[in-house]
Structure formats: structure tokens, C-alpha cells
Amino acid sequence: MSVTAEPRPVGVDLQENEENRALVEAIEADNDDLNIRHMPGMIRLTKTGRLVINQASVEARLGRPWETHEFQMAIISYFGEFVEWDDDQIVIAWNH
């Protein structure tokens, strides 16, 4: 059965701390229509369709080297799937 569902929310919950400020700013800058919700100790970022984290964008704001593996230190939970995770980019979306 092949059904392409309409675009649905994807998102990521990040630890809300000093270190992740640059990460959040980068995600905000690189994703249109991003919803941001603050909960105790964490920040939830959601949008419809695709959520993108760009290595260069984060590193430029952080002011020190940052590899995409380091995203693991920030993440609490997510919904959607990691459809891409390379040196330059992480993408969360639904496959179907």
C-alpha cells in the first residue's frame, strides 16, 4: 500500500543550557515556521515537514569546532526520523 500522508509535525527536544544556545539559534535561523516551546530544563522545537541542523551554521555561532556527532549531547528526544545524518547536516522528517 502506498499512501503519502500530508506533512506532519517533526521535532526535537533539546537540553536548555548555555552550550545549546548557539545550536538553537542556528536551527531557528535555518528553519522557517519553527515553533519554540520552553519547558523545565528543555526546549522543544517543532515544525511541519523537515527540520534541518546545519553543521556550518552551528559552528559559526558557537565560535569553536562543532561536529554533527556532538548533537547527541544536546538531544533529549525527537519525533520523526533521522533521514540524514552526515558531516554537514542532520535532517529530521517522516519518510512516509
Partner: protein
């Protein structure tokens, strides 16, 4: 914003490094048949044609894994040290909050260790190198979780009851047979069922309903160590969610014949997992002096919205349907926490945590969160429990409850639409009667009766004389409970110590 200097290009990309250091380390032995090396991956009927199709988006290598996990541990232990040195336990909202963490301590670390063992098994016995490496990482994660939970909560063990013998209690005490039987059920299944049961159903579908209440509850109630542990573990959990999702997709994509097997496991394990975390529902609505959200709200957000309306739309592509008994769970969201806590309240004299009647502030919150159902519970049970207290007593159930053969919880759940009639289901198999709390549990039994008739039901074991003796003191001694571990919170050592530490007098009455 300055542009940093160009870094020298890596010799290999992330994808290439991952492949070189995991998949490319595998080989096909010529000296022994594949089935002899991997004897457990055929018997469940799951068909796999190409193990190399197993994908791991995190693309970790041993080097990256160790680097980041070590950093997570460093950060966590720094927080634990700081909390201990600054006597952080005095900053909790109130000592009765600790009962939530007692349940956590008793019900979880030992089963993190179970998960560590079974993922270790998968790290050896799954045919594909990608799957094996992902399982190996998860196995180490689960061991880390067991260790960090024990270390995190060990500080509280110095100041509060109900934590000192969690390992022994996990094996013996009645309500802890609920998580124990759940994990042992999954561990004694085959590797593919394990991956759907724990990897997918528990770690993806239901995980947020377990962790967010505890961790946000910790944040709201001054429990910095638990909150920090929670966030530390959750970053591992995102990898676990990914493994679980990959497991189900891999099975569904490898062969269409796998669909009915996977659907049946999904139906079974959603229900078993849902019943297991009903203990969390009772905890979050009744044991947190400062609450985050109600069970009903958490269920709506983390399950109905994110899973049913998100994930299952994705899985529809493969022909997967939402779990068979999901509507029963949705119907229960207004009443689940009340029924569970009412079970815990009347049996906490035989437990390693304490309970108490919700105070005025609690009741106001319950009214606001459950305007339709709270008044029913207040009128039928809580006002009467208060009556007993007002006349100088305290209601504890004088007997032992009827237990569900599958979930092992006292059968306090009710018929859909009728919160005052407990659900009774029975099956007869080879001349013996078995009891169930719901259609969901009954179906699980009926599909595999020879498995579930082996349930070690605490009440039945007590009556067989296997739990120390016939009286409550005998059983409590066999459990290893000490005065102060269970019973009523008000007037307990935890309560009185708390007041003394803060220079306050005990409440009258």
C-alpha cells in the same frame, strides 16, 4: 559573527568512517554455516533477505561513542557531587515527593540491567553487523543507565526510607512483579520479538510517558540529580528510539510476510507496556507536590498526538495498524491514575513506599484536571478514607487482591464507560481458570497460555507459603521491609525528619 579558519578536510566522511569501522569489520566465515553462528534468528518466522539494509543514522563508531558517553558521565557526576555537598535534598518541595523516586528506584534500574543483558545477546546473535553494533551501543547505554540511576539515587538513600534494598524487593515485592514479569517476558522471547517489544513498543511508542513525568516531576520538585540523570539518559534514548524504529521498518521492508507477525507483537507489547506504565500515571497525578501535567494531558500529547497522529501515519505505508486495544487505553485516560493510586493507597502497608490522602491543594488540582471523574472518586473512595482517618484510623485493605495473570496488577481497572464496575475476564485452559483485568490482557493470555500460566503471581505465591509465612509480618520480613519503608506518609520517619530538618512542628491529627 566571525568566520572560523578552514579546517583540514577529514580523510573519511562520517558515513565512510562508520562503514569502515563497523560493517567492513564483518566477514563471512567459510569454516562454519551462518545458521550455526546465528541460531536464533529464524525460529520466530521473521524473514530477512539482506542484513546490510539495516541502517543506523547515528553512524557511531566505538571512538565517537566512548568520547560522548564519557562526557555525559562527567557532567552528570559533577552535578551529583554538587548536590550532595550542598545538602540539596533539603531543597525538595517536600519529603513525600520521594515516594515517586522510591518507585523509580525499585522498579527501574534492575530492568535497565535486564535490557543491558538482552541487548548484549543481540550484539552477539543478530546476523547483521550494523544491527549488532547498534545493539552493542544500546547494551552499554542500558548498563550506564542502571549504574547512573543507582548512583543518582544513592544520595537520597542516606536520608529517606524505602530505597535501601531495591534489588531484593525487585524480586519479591508484589507490585514489583509488574515490571519484572514484563521484562522477563520480553527477554524470554526471541530477538526479533525483543526488538519490537522493548526496542520499538517500549523505547519508541511509550518512552516519553515514562521519562517525561519522572524527569519533569523531578525538575518541578527540586530534584536536581534525577532531572540531570534524566536528561543525560534521554540523549541515549534518542538512539534507542532510532534503533526501535529501524527494527520495525527493517522487518517490514525485508519481507511482506513479516507484517502479521510484527502487527501481533505490536498489539501485545503496546498493551503490556501500557499496563506497566499505569504505575507512572498514579505517580504523576498523586505523588508530586508540584505537578507538571496530568496523566491525561501526557497521554494526549505523547501518545495520541505524537504517536497515533505522527508515527502511525508513517507506518500505515507498510500496512501497520494502531494497536488493537488502543481505544481502551484512550477511554481510560480520565480514570487510570485514580484507580492506580487507589490500589497503592490501600496496599502501601505491604510496600516500600508511602501514600496519603490528597490534601486540599492536591484535590483542587485533581478537580481542575479531571472535572468529570475526580468528583466520582472523591465521593466513592477518598471521602470515606478521610472518614476512617477522622475516627483515628487509616484504611489499609485487610486482605490480598485478585491479580491479573498477565500484567499482574490488582484488578482495579474498570469496564469501559463504567468506572464503578471492576473488569472481570476469565479464561479456562486445560481445566484451570485464569483471571484478567481487561480484554487486552486476556487476549495476550489466550494467544500464548502456556507462557502466561507460568506467571509468578505474588498473592498466589504468598498463599502457597513461598513468601516467608502466612501473616503480613512474615511476608514483610521476607520482603525485607523495615519500619518506615511503607504505610502512611503522615507521621512517618520521612515526614517527621523533614519537619525537623526545616524546624517545623508535625501537623495535628
Amino acid at each position: 559573527m566571525t568566520v572560523p579558519a578552514q579546517k583540514p578536510a577529514r580523510k573519511l566522511s562520517m558515513k565512510q568512517r562508520y562503514t569502515a569501522l563497523t560493517h567492513d569489520l564483518d566477514w563471512t566465515p567459510t569454516y562454519v554455516a551462518e545458521d550455526a553462528i546465528f541460531p536464533f534468528t529464524k525460529f520466530e518466522g521473521i524473514k530477512v533477505h539482506d542484513w546490510n539494509k539495516w541502517e543506523d543514522p547515528f553512524r557511531l563508531t566505538v571512538e565517537a561513542y566512548n568520547k560522548y558517553q564519557a562526557e555525559k558521565d562527567r557532567r552528570l557526576y559533577a552535578v551529583l557531587d554538587g548536590f550532595a555537598q550542598s545538602q540539596g535534598q533539603l531543597g525538595l518541595t517536600e519529603a513525600r515527593y520521594m515516594n515517586a523516586m522510591k518507585i523509580f528506584m525499585q522498579g527501574i534500574p534492575i530492568h535497565e540491567y535486564d535490557a543491558h543483558r538482552m541487548f548484549s545477546n543481540c550484539a552477539r546473535y543478530l546476523n547483521g553487523p550494523g544491527a549488532r553494533f547498534a545493539a552493542l551501543c544500546q547494551s552499554m547505554d542500558e548498563l550506564r543507565h542502571a549504574q547512573t540511576e543507582i548512583h543518582t539515587l544513592s544520595h537520597y538513600n542516606k536520608y529517606f526510607d524505602g530505597m535501601h534494598d531495591w534489588h531484593k524487593w525487585s524480586d519479591r515485592v508484589w507490585y514489583l512483579s509488574v515490571p519484572k514479569s514484563f521484562f522477563e517476558d520480553a527477554m524470554t522471547a526471541g530477538p526479533f520479538e525483543w526488538l519490537i517489544a522493548i526496542g520499538f513498543s517500549f523505547e519508541y511508542l511509550l518512552t516519553n510517558l515514562l521519562f517525561v513525568p519522572f524527569m519533569s516531576g523531578a525538575a518541578f520538585n527540586g530534584d536536581l540529580p534525577t532531572m540531570t540523570f534524566g536528561f543525560s539518559a534521554q540523549s541515549d534514548e534518542s538512539r534507542h528510539m532510532t534503533l526501535g524504529l529501524e527494527a520495525i521498518k527493517f522487518m517490514l521492508e525485508q519481507d511482506e510476510d513479516n507484517l502479521p507477525i510484527v502487527q501481533a507483537w505490536l498489539d501485545k507489547w503496546f498493551w503490556r507496556g501500557y499496563r506497566l506504565i499505569s504505575l507512572v500515571a498514579g505517580m504523576m497525578d498523586y505523588m508530586l507536590p508540584k505537578r507538571v501535567m496530568s496523566w491525561k494531558e501526557a497521554f494526549e500529547l505523547y501518545f495520541e498526538e505524537q504517536m497515533l497522529n505522527g508515527l502511525f501515519k508513517d507506518l500505515e505505508y507498510y500496512g501497520i495498524k494502531p494497536p488493537r486495544d488502543v481505544q481502551w487505553a484512550i477511554d481510560e485516560k480520565e480514570i487510570l491514575s485514580h484507580q492506580v493510586y487507589w490500589i497503592l493507597y490501600q496496599y502501601s502497608h505491604a510496600a516500600a513506599f508511602q501514600t496519603t490522602i490528597p490534601d486540599a491543594e492536591d484535590q483542587a488540582w485533581l478537580m481542575e484536571s479531571y472535572p468529570e471523574t475526580w468528583p466520582v472518586f472523591k465521593a466513592t473512595v477518598w471521602d470515606r478514607a478521610q472518614k476512617v482517618v477522622d475516627s483515628g484510623g487509616r484504611y489499609f485493605n485487610p486482605g490480598l487482591p485478585q491479580l491479573c495473570t498477565v500484567c499482574q496488577i490488582p484488578m482495579g481497572f474498570t469496564e469501559p464507560g463504567d468506572p464503578l464496575t471492576q473488569c472481570q475476564r476469565q479464561s479456562v485452559y486445560e481445566g484451570e481458570r485464569y483471571d484478567f483485568c481487561s480484554d487486552g490482557c486476556q487476549t495476550i493470555f489466550d494467544n500464548e497460555p502456556v507462557k502466561y500460566r507460568q506467571s509468578w503471581l505474588p498473592v498466589h505465591q504468598i498463599f502457597q507459603g513461598n513468601c516467608g509465612g502466612p501473616t503480613l509480618p512474615d511476608v514483610a520480613a521476607w520482603y525485607g521491609l523495615q519500619p518506615g519503608d511503607g504505610g502512611e506518609y503522615l507521621g512517618s520517619p520521612d515526614n517527621l525528619n523533614w519537619l525537623a530538618w526545616h524546624g517545623q512542628a508535625a501537623k495535628e491529627g
